[in-house]
């Protein structure tokens, strides 16, 4: 009763007007007929696309650094933080001569996200200590089978020439916040 929103349930006999249902039905049809003439909420999708926010959480990208080496170090923090358990990876050690490919000494040999499991919460991005994974405003496209939704590194890692812009999600303020040392994963 604190909010005064809870209603006391009284099990009383129905009145005559309630028993014959008609008044209730009439008020009901009056409401629905009004909706017949309302503006429709439907967006006719392929022809017309809904406007989405700048920080929309869509398909992930695995970033490269400025020299084109992959940032991910296969620490597994994203997989641990993922509430949907959508991420799997296999780690491998960087060989000599691969420094231009991988930034850290350990890297992800395979990295898969199951887009059917993913709920696009963004926790993987938040957990990543290497600024390697980001969600972008790209929409995961449809497919005929389930296997097509398991995105490997071929689809996730950005190509060297065509970088994916994440500056809208990674603003300086966000970066500063993520690098605060009192946050446990940055220690």
């Amino acid at each position: 009763m604190l909010t005064n929103r809870s209603k006391l349930v009284v099990k009383k006999e129905m009145t005559f007007a309630e028993k014959i249902y008609l008044p209730a039905i009439l008020s009901g049809v009056a409401i629905t007929i009004k909706h017949l003439f309302r503006k429709k909420a439907t967006v006719k999708y392929p022809e017309k696309q809904r406007e989405i926010s700048d920080v929309w959480r869509g398909q992930h990208v695995l970033k490269r650094d400025d020299k084109g080496a992959e940032r991910c170090t296969a620490c597994g923090l994203c997989a641990v933080s993922c509430p949907a358990e959508a991420i799997t990876m296999v780690a491998a050690e960087r060989k000599k001569g691969e420094e231009n490919l991988y930034r850290e000494e350990k890297y992800a040999a395979t990295y898969e996200i199951n887009m059917l499991r993913c709920i696009f919460c963004g926790l993987c991005e938040e957990a990543c200590p290497k600024e390697a994974i980001f969600l972008t405003d790209r929409i995961v496209s449809t497919d005929y089978g389930r296997n097509g939704f398991i995105y490997g590194k071929d689809k996730l890692v950005e190509s060297v020439d065509e970088r994916v812009d994440v500056t809208k999600r990674q603003t300086p303020a966000v970066l500063a916040f993520k690098q605060q040392k009192r946050l446990s994963h940055n220690k």
């Binding site: 039905i25 629905t32 007929i33």
Partner: protein
């Protein structure tokens, strides 16, 4: 004689075709109306505004895999949907789709058969309709189907009584059972001769009739036989492919026929206001009358859908209470009232 046969055959053929067409497009209309009442746009991909949707649906039904459960009674399993479809189509024979057409010195009636026990025939055929559902539900050998079938039969039987009683009052008033004559009696309407439609004299009867019509067609709020929330799919749980299609289709045909019967009995059939004051020749009036009848039918079909997307389903005990404790006493009261007024007016 052969001319008569050919004429009747053409009439039967066109009524059959129109019934199927209307039923097919009712499925489309249902989805559109549902969508619009819920602020959506509904199917709009098959053709402009989705008008080829019924064709796509039909095609899909035909190409779907046909499953007949091994534990079912095969013969009855197949018989069920056939019976549902058959009885649904049979009632259309009696509806007067229009007044007469006079070509040369021949008078052609737009009613296939004007039985003098018209309404009784409609009732008879509609009651057989429940056998389709019962047989189908029983033959499936599935608890949900059986429960759905039991509900359907209990509901049909309960509401048929009230429906029949509500019609008796109308018959006391009109003095005939023939649908053709009932239509003809309502000619004129507003205008020169103040001859009102039956609904004006029988508002209570109309109300009872339309409520029962909803129950007979298994439409919401009385769609307990196929209630998805409790019974998976009710009597047609085990059905697939075109057999399921037949059941669903039969429901729409029933809706069409019920709308036609309601229009004929209570809303003047093919008559429209001022029809005798326009000074048009007989044939033109007849054709306009047919169009008007279809407008009325369309309205009632829309009304069926409108109600469906407004009201939730009744609980089973509420359904029985409404049928036995409210509608039947009301219908009896209506008969009494009508009889009294008829005696006093004489």
């Amino acid at each position: 004689m052969s001319e008569f046969l050919i004429y009747k055959l053409i009439l039967v053929g066109s009524v059959f075709g129109i019934t199927l067409f209307v039923a097919a497009y009712s499925t489309y209309a249902e989805r559109k109306v549902a969508a619009f009442l819920q602020d959506r746009v509904g199917p709009d991909r098959a053709g402009p505004f989705g008008i080829f949707q019924p064709l796509a649906d039909g095609m899909k039904f035909i190409y779907k895999e046909e499953i007949i459960p091994v534990v079912s009674n095969k013969f009855l399993f197949v018989l069920g949907p056939c019976l549902a479809m058959l009885t649904a189509m049979m009632a259309g024979v009696l509806i007067p789709w229009g007044n007469t057409l006079i070509i040369g010195d021949q008078v052609y009636s737009l009613q296939i058969a004007d039985l003098n026990v018209g309404i009784l025939y409609v009732f008879g055929v509609v009651s057989i309709g429940v056998y389709g559902i019962m047989i189908g539900g029983w033959a499936s050998n599935n608890k949900f189907s059986l429960l759905g079938a039991i509900r359907a039969s209990a509901q049909m039987i309960s509401y048929e009584i009230a429906m029949g009683l509500s019609i008796i009052a109308l018959i006391i008033m009109t003095g005939t059972l023939s649908l053709g004559e009932i239509s003809a009696q309502q000619a004129g309407g507003v205008g020169g001769d103040w001859n009102m439609w039956n609904v004006v004299y029988q508002p209570l009867g109309f109300l009872i009739f339309i409520v029962c019509a909803f129950a007979e067609c298994n439409r919401t709020p009385f769609d307990l036989p196929e209630c998805e929330t409790e019974l998976v799919g009710g009597y047609h749980t085990e059905y697939s492919s075109m057999k399921l299609g037949f059941y669903l289709f039969a429901e729409y045909i029933n809706m069409f026929v019920s709308s036609a019967v309601i229009s004929t009995l209570y809303f003047g059939g093919y008559n429209f206001p001022f029809m005798n004051d326009l000074g048009l020749d007989h044939n033109t009036i007849s054709i306009i009358g047919t169009v008007v009848l279809f407008a009325k039918i369309s309205f009632f079909i829309f009304f069926f859908m409108w109600i469906r997307w407004t009201i939730p389903r009744f609980r089973y005990d509420q359904l029985m209470n409404l049928g036995w404790k409210i509608l039947i006493p009301l219908a009896v009261f209506n008969i009494f009232l009508t009889g009294l007024v008829m005696i006093l007016l004489k």
